[in-house]
Symmetry: C2
Subunit: 298 residues, 2 copies
């Protein structure tokens, strides 16, 4: 066993989490969440999304959120910016890093962002060019890396092809997402093994959903493959639009509990993280998706 000594958590709760919650959430509550997360020691927070509010109404207030958060030195505040217009808006909001997202499944790409995988990658070229000119780092997401709600199985080679393109285009890191949470530990390892032939493993991140209860095991499997960056969502915010009533992103608390148990350094305070998750769950009137938070409530 040769586990990484340090792991970086990318907190996606305010974006990937909240965009899948149904209730309207005030800018003030979003700001509070982001500030709670930075206070807990998270070094990277995906705060919002600069996309058309027509598509993602929950993210409409991203500019206001960015204007009001208390920026803590050393913390990266990032946002999705899938096109040049979004990128410019993000820069106006002093976003420090942006992310673009592609799918590993052709059918998902068509249904989710209304274009082919190749077309989506083409659309990112001007974003990456502009980002390079402005000295802004771009993170790439690949969704459906372990299965697609429309196509079923997704070959690791297909994931590798999309990840390779994003990396070649200039994404400094590519996050591989099991969007519908169907993957298990063996498939996770195989996927990183295959993608790792095309993109260095220290440029890859894991992004797991707990829909089938496998996320923490998949994180452990990824660690065994040398992956040391993981996306997660405080309180397991978010759901799964493809499996109603199912769990969303892996809860940051449960993942941190694993990492603490393995003696891996993250710089995050578990108690403060639990408190941040409890607060947003109260605001949302939502069950806390973190098992650690529930156990500690006793």
């Amino acid at each position: 066993m040769n586990l990484p000594q340090h792991v970086r958590l990318v907190e996606v709760g305010p974006r990937d989490g909240l965009q899948n919650e149904k209730q309207p959430i005030s800018v003030a509550d979003k700001v509070r969440l982001v500030d709670d997360l930075s206070a807990a020691g998270l070094g990277y927070i995906e705060v919002g999304s600069f996309v058309s509010p027509k598509w993602v109404p929950q993210m409409a207030g991203s500019a206001e959120v960015f204007a009001q958060i208390a920026r803590k030195p050393g913390v990266t505040y990032a946002a999705l910016a899938p096109n040049l217009r979004g990128f410019e808006a993000a820069l106006e909001s002093k976003v420090e890093e942006v992310a673009v997202f592609a799918a590993a499944s052709e059918a998902f790409s068509q249904k989710n962002i209304n274009c082919s995988i190749a077309e989506s990658l083409e659309r990112f070229v001007p974003v990456l060019d502009a980002a390079k000119q402005r000295g802004v780092r771009v993170r790439g997401y690949v969704s459906c890396v372990l299965g697609c709600p429309y196509e079923g199985a997704v070959a690791p080679e297909q994931v590798a092809s999309v990840a390779r393109e994003l990396f070649a285009m200039g994404c400094y890191e590519v996050s591989l997402g099991d969007t519908i949470g169907v993957g298990t530990a063996g498939a996770t390892r195989k996927m990183f093994e295959v993608v790792g032939r095309d993109v260095p493993r220290d440029k890859l991140a894991g992004h797991f959903h707990d829909t089938y209860g496998q996320a923490v095991a998949n994180v452990y499997a990824s660690l065994l493959e040398g992956i040391s960056v993981f996306d997660s969502s405080v309180a397991g915010l978010g759901g799964c639009p493809y499996a109603k009533g199912a769990t969303g992103n892996v809860a940051s608390e449960d993942m941190l509990y694993l990492l603490n148990g393995l003696g891996i350094d993250t710089g995050i305070d578990l108690d403060k993280l639990i408190a941040a998750g409890r607060r947003i769950c109260q605001v949302l009137g939502r069950d806390n998706g973190s098992r650690v938070a529930k156990a500690r409530q006793a």
Copy 2:
């Protein structure tokens, strides 16, 4: 990676699960649960407990349950029998296999069964002697193997000592239980590594609770250590008396989903297992603790 090709599931829902549920459950509902589980392909079901109903009221009807289940050839129907009186009662009910339980933590042993670890082991001697005479196999449980609610950390050497004694006394298999679900993957592997020096790994089983969301990851970690028998509870029945509102045993469905994903044979039909879990949750008016069952409900 050298994972086992076949894994045996020990279904503890009707016993370890139900005994931690608060609602009264009729004999008919318990019988139905056991029969649903055998129909799903489970080869080993812990049906009940022959202990004083004063201590575990939920298990009072175990003899009636044993009298009414439809015994399926090839399935082992087992029960807890911690003393000679319980053992005789179990045999009257045609129990095919019995189990005894000790703790790895001295404080837990005192608080849970009111005697020291050494005393508890002494009490099992007549049970094991009688079982040997009658040709009945005895399974041993060790609780608190990765932590104790009173003592905190538990040394793997302490677990090894209790497991070794149970094995030496004649238990054909020793199930190592993370009773309060605090363990993580690294500690799980270390524990099996240490205990495995004293008891052959093919005589050890893993028993995980999902209190902190780590159970599926701990099962995967155990598989990597060559463990091929696991206890689990359909629908994650049961709770944790030491962390109110927390999850109980790992859900059989979620563990089976992992094993199926790894290509490991179990002989169990996931759909039928999910149906069995849904039915008992309806009876109990209880949230289904299996994430797989929830995801499939979409």
